[in-house]
Subunit: 208 residues, 2 copies
DNA sequence: GTCTATAGCGGGATAGAC
DNA sequence: GTCTATCCCGCTATAGAC
């Protein structure tokens, strides 16, 4: 799209290496030379493909965020049952983070860097649509009598996403601190936790 | 304690300035000169009080984390009702972040920097005790029949804390994205959300 | 497209006067 | 305790050969 034609392997190698390093050490903590080394590419070559470090950073974010169309969350709205739709959104979010483990860290760094207000437009738009879908979905559940009505839909949507998002950032550490899990494959753990989130959230929302 | 006697005003000014900058831009993104400037202090003087940048960073974290004894969360265990105890823990956590808004960002940066596993021992210990209290408390609620038993206490504890923690990092942005709240005083918003978290979490945990 | 070489700047940290 | 001056290093980015 934005990059017409096929992205050369070199460019892709740079993007991958940069994504790993930016996620692990942040933009300021990562040097061009480190990126070049990890990508197996001459550092100067990076400036052939990207204007400067900031542009490379933007490209990394665009690549990763763009890989996961939010559209699917909106599709869930077509579902008849609000319960099923909510479950679908949660599981999808878990899948996204499981498939691209660098994303949670990059997002969290973005949140810490920009004052909350002015974040990357791309990321903001993605989040906005996801939240909007969830809110609509919860409100719909309230209207049809399946969800309790004494909960603010906006707050409930945040509660729902917060669980899965926070887990992806700190979950493994937290479970370790509690002496749980000697370590399973990360991906499975996320899906298991997503299962819990669905149950927990639906229990909180269910009308009595 | 660790710093015997009274900390001179200069040292404190450096710590405060450093805390703000580290929270906003991260350790790597902050320079000694910036810290000196914001503290109204000669940059070279920083090396009189701290060995190097890393030591200053550690001191910042120790100061902020140490300001909030986790002990109070454990005290909540003495309460008779698991419901009240859970509410107390959530509100306390909200108060901590409201009183020291830099803390969430610093914590999140720590989580992003260190691989989840090896985080600052001080912070890890604090989190461990908080989680342990919550877990015990939930398990107790299950034992006395007030909480449903088909929820993993560890997972529930994470769900509970995740809501308040994630809100403090991204809540204002998320609400803005949803077109909510033209901005109230941040502190009040946190307390309001904490109220929601208590209601939401108890609804999820309550036995039918 | 890829490499070498290097300019130019800004960072962390120290020496030593006051 | 505080300041000035400065060293040295490593980083970003460019020039230009291939």
């Amino acid at each position: 799209m934005t990059d017409s034609a096929a992205a050369p392997a070199t460019r892709q190698a740079i993007l991958s290496a940069a994504a790993e390093l930016f996620a692990a050490r942040g933009q300021a903590g990562t040097t061009i030379k480190q990126i070049g080394r990890r990508a197996g590419v001459n550092p100067a070559l990076i400036y052939y493909y990207f204007a400067d470090k900031a542009a490379l950073y933007d490209a990394v974010l665009a690549e990763l965020v763009g890989r996961f169309p939010v559209q699917l969350a909106e599709a869930a709205l077509a579902t008849d049952s609000p319960r099923d739709a909510l479950a679908a959104v949660v599981h999808r979010q878990a899948r996204v983070f499981a498939e691209e483990p660098l994303l949670p860290r990059l997002i969290v760094r973005e949140l810490a860097d920009h004052d909350g207000s002015r974040a990357t437009p791309l990321l903001g738009e993605h989040a906005r649509r996801l939240l909007a879908s969830l809110t609509v979905l919860i409100r719909r559940g309230q209207d049809d009598g399946s969800f309790r009505t004494d909960v603010e839909p906006h707050h409930a949507a945040i509660s729902c996403l917060a669980q899965i998002n926070w887990y992806c950032i700190s979950g493994p550490l937290m479970l370790m601190l509690m002496g749980d899990k000697p370590e399973g494959p990360h991906t499975l753990e996320i899906d298991r936790f997503a299962e819990h989130v669905v149950k927990f959230t639906l229990a909180a929302l269910e009308a009595r």
